[in-house]
């Protein structure tokens, strides 16, 4: 059994992952949302670095973009990249969350959201799970054509239609649809017996910490871009506390 590279607290997840996203080129506000998504993943007992490192790389290497356009076509709201590149999940996730937050109690329950060609679909589910507002079904096809679905619920529990230990391997871009469980399109019976993540996992992780494996250096490398090299001058003029202790 492999050992984790580091065991982190949720607070450290927020600190390192938010700044790693900034280091990869994301504006701070979106990076905060990414940090919250990473905590949601970690609270499920999963390695947030393994699942999200490629999304940061994709953004950093300009394979994906945070430039997008959003349109409404009847019951469908469509978000897509403004150009040819894949749409970064780090923009798409918060955009879906904003769409969810903007819905009112009397909004049409059959409205749904489509995101085209998003680079890391699971991170949309993570963003929606972290929002913790209502129950939503997030659905896409993986590179082999299999249907992948995540069900998030208001109580913090969530389910996947497949064994999520494979999530870090799911790197193919896909079109994703997000619909409310109150929609007439939602079929509850297909979720019976599926892998389930309970809010209890969060309490367990609080007692044990978050185990982060081989992708940690990637996160830390992006994080380090937010740091400023130290100089003798900055030590003298910009740092608090004394250089010597005499009291």
């Amino acid at each position: 059994m492999k050992s984790p590279q580091i065991v982190l607290s949720f607070n450290e997840i927020m600190f390192f992952f938010t700044r790693a996203a900034v280091g990869a080129g994301l504006p701070y506000g979106l990076a905060e949302d990414f940090g919250r998504s990473a905590i949601w993943i970690a609270a499920g007992g999963l390695d947030p670095a393994a699942i999200s490192a490629n999304a940061l790389k994709s953004l950093d290497e300009a394979q994906s973009t945070i430039s997008a356009s959003q349109t409404e076509n009847g019951a469908e709201t469509v978000l897509k990249s403004s150009g040819e590149k894949q749409l970064s999940a780090l923009l798409a996730g918060p955009s879906v969350c904003d769409w969810i937050s903007a819905r009112s109690a009397d909004s049409n329950k059959n409205q749904y959201f489509s995101v085209k060609n998003v680079d890391h679909p699971f991170l949309l589910a993570a963003a929606i799970g972290a929002l913790n507002s209502g129950s939503w079904e997030i659905c896409w096809q993986d590179s082999g054509g299999a249907l992948c679905t995540v069900l998030t619920s208001q109580d913090g529990n969530w389910k996947t239609s497949w064994d999520p230990t494979d999530i870090s391997q799911m790197s193919a871009a896909a079109d994703v649809t997000i619909k409310s469980v109150e929609s007439s399109l939602f079929k509850a019976e297909k979720w019976k017996g599926k892998t389930s993540y309970s809010e209890k996992n969060r309490k367990l992780v609080l007692e044990t910490g978050v185990q982060v494996y081989e992708a940690w250096p990637i996160i830390h490398s992006f994080f380090s871009r937010c740091l400023v090299p130290s100089t003798e001058e900055s030590r003298k003029s910009g740092a608090g506390a004394g250089l010597v202790d005499t009291d």
Binding site: G29, I66, L91, T208, V228, G240, G242, D247
Partner: protein, 570 residues
């Protein structure tokens, strides 16, 4: 109490001081501890719930080096202070975060540690930031000795004498912490783990419990070393002297970003204090008991301020002025005619606001709260939060613009085209992630600026809003301009929390980080602020607080404004 007040005007209508007055750096940098400060509420709880203290392990050699475990048993749980002490070469001593060795390193452990836990921590705690910790550890900290006082106390006690109280008063502590880390730092337990426990739900309670236990340890340590040196000749510290010894603390820039990053929490702290003050000044009459108590605390504060001496010239001038302010207050209070009219407390505050310096005014606020524990102490329970900032994407840009004009006029009035208005920037150094305060036009790294310049970011948001159509939603705006997402989220949140925002420009060329530090440390309950520059200060924690064996109910109430022990000890 927290989220229902949406506007400053509502605050004012309740007889509370306005955010425009309270949340200015100059006043924040004049703050004093109050009875709602976190150390005070901790000792009240310890006393009320009759926590039991126990020395579990004291495996320390004749020079004071070794490992010890001191436990406190609360009604539902036990917490343990595990301390490692070792020798430190003189050239390795520094208060800075970048230090690598310390006289004492310690953890607050959740429960009683096993031998395996102590062994694990012995490999990590002395390394501090270079070690790794687990959710069993609630706090990680370290401290250095005040060499001259520690050695003096050892010498005296070992020779059968009590230490020189004047020297003791000039330092105030045997050891001085240089960092106290909680809330998930370096793998320690997240705040979420303990935030629902009654004894730890309050702000910074585990961090301050750690310091309180460590203070107990330092007194036992100095007595142990003296006993080893002096044998049968050695004596213990006089109880009053022990009580007067606090724990020193050197606080630098690490605390400053916290205040910006937790606006709702800061609102709750200030709201509690201002609510307490408003309750007191709303009293039309006063009892003889509260009059007596006020008089007692006023006299003690006069002595406390008289004994507060620092090297910093600016702070010295402020202390001198505060002494004058207190003389005026004492004279005013001695005039019986002033005591006969209704709303005494309100008139005292009014007198202070007209006649006193900012430090004098804030000290008066603290004094006014002191005799009114029954009226205000419940507010200490509301000084925490789990709320962060939230975006409201359905809001129109027109509404957002209205919020800006209404609640951020302080920021919009600053001319950020003037380079001096954003000369400074905050950043993390790659050296131990130490927060630093740079000069944008002279130092490298401005492109890695921490997002703390709220006023400047509001100014830029306002400028952008003027350049685009107001006919779209906030959701659409932040999708098109994601660089504004964080400040929009902040604006939309803090307008519901009037005390959330520091109403000054924290990247101005003239900005003094020390004001932020003092504000936060006063809420902790610190006293004897001793600024060493505009970037850091020394303080004393728990000075005058009862030690564990003396923590009876009355003593828990009695330790505000500590003064040098009685004359016969000098």
């Amino acid at each position: 109490m927290k989220a229902n007040m949406s506007e400053s005007t509502q605050v004012a209508s309740r007889g509370m001081r306005s955010p425009e007055k309270v949340m200015r750096l100059s006043r924040m940098g004049s703050s004093f501890q109050t009875r709602l400060s976190f150390m005070r509420s901790l000792t009240r709880r310890i006393s009320k719930e009759k926590w039991k203290f126990e020395k579990i392990l004291f495996d320390v050699d004749k020079d004071g080096y070794g490992v010890s475990v001191y436990a406190v048993h609360t009604p539902e749980r036990t917490y343990s202070l595990i301390t490692f002490t070792n020798a430190v070469a003189a050239e390795m001593r520094t208060d800075r975060v970048v230090a690598e060795v310390w006289d004492a390193t310690f953890n607050l452990f959740d429960g009683l540690p096993t031998e395996a836990d102590i062994n694990r921590l012995s490999q990590n705690t002395p390394k501090q930031e270079a070690g790794r910790f687990s959710p069993s550890e609630l706090v990680l900290a370290r401290a250095n000795k005040s060499l001259r006082l520690f050695e003096h106390v050892v010498s005296c006690l070992s020779a059968g004498k009590q230490p020189d109280v004047e020297l003791l008063a000039s330092v105030g502590y045997l050891m001085r912490t240089t960092a106290v880390y909680g809330s998930g730092k370096f793998g320690c337990a997240d705040r979420e783990k303990i935030s629902k426990r009654p004894e730890t739900r309050g702000a910074f309670q585990v961090e301050l419990l750690t310091v309180y236990l460590f203070r107990w340890f330092t007194i036992e340590l100095v007595e142990h070393v003296a006993k080893q040196r002096g044998g049968e000749k050695a004596v213990s510290l006089n109880a009053e002297i022990s009580k007067y010894l606090g724990i020193g603390n050197a606080t630098g820039l690490g605390m400053a970003p916290f205040l910006i990053k937790h606006p709702v929490l800061i609102h709750n702290w200030v709201l509690a204090r201002e609510t307490a003050l408003s309750r007191v000044i709303a009293l039309e009459s006063q009892s003889p008991e509260t009059l007596t108590l006020f008089s007692k605390y006023l006299q003690r504060a006069i002595q406390h301020i008289a004994e507060w001496n620092v090297e910093d010239q600016l702070q010295t001038a402020r202390i001198l002025q505060t002494r004058e302010d207190l003389k005026l207050l004492s004279n005013w209070f001695a005039d019986e005619e002033n005591l006969k009219q209704p709303f005494l407390w309100q008139r005292i505050l009014h007198f202070a606001e007209i006649n006193f310096s900012l430090e004098g005014q804030e000290l008066t606020v603290s004094l006014l709260m002191e005799p009114h524990g029954e009226l205000v102490d419940d507010l200490a329970d509301d000084m925490q939060t789990s709320s962060g900032t939230e975006l409201e994407p359905s809001m129109s840009l027109t509404q957002l613009n209205e919020l800006l004009q209404k609640s951020f006029s302080w920021a919009l009035e600053i001319d950020f085209t003037d380079p001096e208005k954003q000369r400074r920037f905050w950043y993390y150094s790659e050296e131990k992630l130490e927060p630093r305060f740079g000069d944008r036009y002279a130092d490298p790294g401005a492109e890695q600026e921490m997002p703390l310049a709220v006023g400047r970011d509001v100014y830029l948001l306002n400028k952008k809003l003027k350049s685009i159509s107001a006919d779209i939603s906030v959701g659409k705006f932040v999708q098109d301009y994601p660089e504004f997402r964080h400040i929009v989220r902040r604006v939309q949140t803090v307008v519901r929390f009037p005390y959330a925002e520091i109403r000054d420009n924290i990247v101005d060329a003239e900005m003094r980080p020390i004001d932020l530090l003092r504000f936060k440390l006063a809420f902790f309950g610190a006293s004897k602020f001793d600024p060493k520059s505009e970037l850091w200060t020394r303080i004393t924690l728990f000075q005058g607080a009862p030690l564990p064996e003396g923590l009876s109910a009355s003593e828990a109430e009695e330790w505000a404004f500590p003064v040098i022990p009685v004359q016969e000890l000098r």
